[in-house]
Structure formats: C-alpha cells, structure tokens
Amino acid sequence: MTYQRRTKDQLAALVAKDIFDGATVNLGIGMPTLVANHLPAGREVVLHSENGILGIGPAPANGNEDFDLINAGKQAVTLLSGGAFFHHADSFAMMRGGHLDICVLGAFQVSATGDLANWHTGDPDAVPAVGGAMDLAVGAKQAWVMMDLLDKRGNSKIVERCSYPLTAAACVKRIYTDFATFECAPEGLILRDKVEGLELGELEDLLALRQRGLYSLEP
C-alpha cells in the first residue's frame, strides 16, 4: 500500500487543530510560523513573540510593513485589537515562568524521551545561535515539535539519543512530523497517529529505534 507524506501546510493544520480556544502560544521561527495560517475559525488564540508582543495578527499587506513590528523571525507582522507590547524581561518572564500554554518549535533532533536539539549542529565552523529556544523549551507548559521526520540524508530526526548539542532534556511532549505524530514519554515514544497507508513496520524501520512495537493511540 502506498502513502502520501503530509505537506507543510497539512502538518501546520494538524498542529493548529490541537491548539485549544483561549490558548497563549509561541510559534518558533521557520515551519511553526505556518501554524498561524491554519488556526480554526472561531477559536481565539493569543500568539506571543519573544521580542515583546502578545496578540500577533496576520502579515501586513505588501507596502504596509512596519519594521518596528516584527516577529522572532524578523518578518513584519500586525497586532490584533487586545494585543500588547512589553519589554524583554517581561516577555521572557512569560516564557520562563510557565505562562505560555504551548510553544511549537522546529528541531534538528528529538529523542524518544523528549530531549530536544534545535540550536546548534556543533559544527566548529558554524556560528552558533540560541535565541529564545532554551527558554521556551523549559518554560512553556507544553513544548511541541513540528518537523520533517527525515533529514536530507534520509536519517530519522527522532533518535535514541541526540548527537547534536541539547536545547533541553526531556522537554518535548509531542512531535508532529510528515509521516506520523508521536507523544514523548519517559518510557519512550507513543504513536498518536500516522498517515493513511503507512504500515507500522515501515514507520518503525524509518525510525530505526531500539524500541519496536510502538504503543499506539490509534484505534
């Protein structure tokens, strides 16, 4: 049987569907930013940006950009009615003090038990940059990862143990990928759902974890 991997937009829609009404959410740079475009109508979600914004609205029309009003990826954004600006110490108090319900992050690697590596490949020639990743990973009530399951070489980014430098240990609760969605637990990975037509055995081959026979939440 054949299967179709989820597109980035399908993945974003899947994440968005799980964000509850009234949630305060931080969307990381890159793919997670797409989630904002898929929040279900009628659900009020407050988007936080580390540079001091609550209540981010849609992207401005071309020509209406105000570069004093940007998100963490330095893209121009808008502010919803009810939104607020605040300084960095307040913004990171929100992040570090457990005031954000959900953060959605990209990742280089995630371990089956929820260790996250998303800031540095450790390559000595790479300029390292951490930004707010470590604060979000430990501080948000729930950290979700959204990523392609496989890297460019076809290796699983869900690993037994992260080989890249850690962002934080045992912090990821859920991993949304183009093949399947997982929960991270101290005892290992739990399969939440997978794309239609993908056999469990095929998925386990892709993951190449010691743990076979994934416990599944799927009916």
Binding site: N51, G52, D66, F85, H88, A89, G132, D135, V138
Partner: protein
C-alpha cells in the same frame, strides 16, 4: 534645573573609556540605536564588550561598530543572520570573542544588574553546553543554573518620545531590550524622535522612568529597513 537633553551625541559619550561594556538595545533591526552607535564610533572607545541580542547585519549599527574594529567581545543570543557577514568573518577569524547567552538569560542578567541582584538560579540551559562550568543546584527536584548579572558601563537605547527629565516611551516592538538595558548601566543614553514638555507624557504611560536615563538625544526619524531579516523569512 534638570535637563538631560543634549544636542551632540558624541559629547554625551565623552566619559566612555576603552574596555567598556556597552549594552545596545534592539532585536533584528527594530530598536537598534544606529545614530548612537555612530556617535560611539566617532567617540573612539575601543576594546569594547558589546552586549546586544544580535551581532548586526550588513554594515550599519552593530555591524559598523564591529567593522570599525572597536569590539573585543560580543555577548549575545543570536549572532547568526542572513547578512551578518561582518560578525561571521570576525568570529571565524577568531578576531572577536563570543559569549552566547540564551535570550531569557540575557534579559534576566540585565534585569538583575539593574535591580541589584547578585545572581540568580534559572532552569534555562540546565544540562546543556551553555551551562558548562557553571554552578548548578537542585531545587524542588529540578536542576537550575547559577547566572550572574551583566552590568554595563554604557547603555545605548532607542526610544520614541522623551522629556528633559529623561522619561521615555517606545514604539511597538522596538521597545524590546531598551527598558531593561536602561536600568543596567552606569551611563544610559537614549535617542528619541520627539522631545516633549514635562507633563506632556502621560505618567501612566511612561515606560522608562527618568531615574534610569542620563542623556537624551533627538534624532530624525528614518524609515526602518527590514535589516536583520532572514533570507528564509522573506515575504512572498
């Protein structure tokens, strides 16, 4: 009479010495006090430790200070940007030292400096290489890392409006590190686009109260370019 308004930004920086730690506001291109950085370049202090969220892009602002060879060490959270080639080259050539700090630790270390806090324990960075060599403690079953304040000899802050006492307001997300850095330095210099009479700033809306500010300099408003934008964040 108190009058913190000064016409010449270079004169406001007269006391800055070689080896100073300089806190510079901004996030990407928003809130970077480019005109004050230009004044610091003209003033001539060198061997500086530059504390800012980023490390500049293209050749303006932070990048101009780096390019002028005035910076010995950079303390920041996110030096890598699409057009951060000035920093990248200095870093790879080992011509500038980098202390990479998680952004929340950067903000809190500055806040601690401004609030007279000797050090604090934080969960951020625990168990990572950015906590290597640092004191750790278990509190209620959770690992914490001891972090120390970052005091500035100078803070350069971009604000929106001010008055002669030094009260400041900011504009949108250009506020970012400004109010925190203003509290954390021996000498705080702010640029503003408008200087108002005392009482014209609504006291309920003052963001940085006058006590934290030493000089304010009026600058012309120039359009903020999307400098610091990432290539992959380009708008469609």
């Amino acid at each position: 009479m108190i009058d913190k308004v000064i016409d010449d930004a270079v004169q406001a920086l007269a006391r800055v010495k070689d080896g100073a730690t300089v806190l510079i506001g901004g996030f990407g291109g928003a809130g970077v006090p480019n005109e004050l950085i230009d004044a610091l370049i003209a003033q001539g202090a060198k061997d500086l430790t530059m504390v800012s969220n980023n490390a500049g892009s293209s050749e303006i602002g932070l990048a101009a200070l780096l390019k002028a060879g005035r910076v010995r060490k950079v303390i920041c959270s996110f030096p890598r940007q699409a057009d951060s080639y000035v920093f990248d080259e200095l870093y790879r050539g080992r011509k500038v030292e980098l202390e990479l700090v998680p952004q929340g630790n950067l903000a809190e270390r500055l806040r601690a400096a401004g609030a007279g806090i000797g050090a604090f324990f934080t969960r951020t960075g625990f168990g990572t290489e950015l906590a290597r060599g640092k004191e750790i403690r278990e509190i209620d079953g959770q690992g914490y890392v001891l972090e120390f304040p970052i005091h500035g000899d100078l803070a350069l802050v971009k604000a929106e409006k001010g008055d002669r006492w030094g009260n400041l307001t900011y504009r949108k997300a250009a506020r970012n590190f400004g109010p925190v850095m203003a509290t954390a330095a021996t000498l705080t210099v702010a640029s503003v686009h408008e200087i108002l009479e005392l009482g014209e700033l609504d006291p309920e809306h003052v963001i940085t109260p006058s006590v934290f500010v030493d000089h304010i300099v009026k600058i012309a408003r120039v359009p903020i370019a999307p400098s610091g934008s990432r290539k992959d964040a380009a708008k469609p």
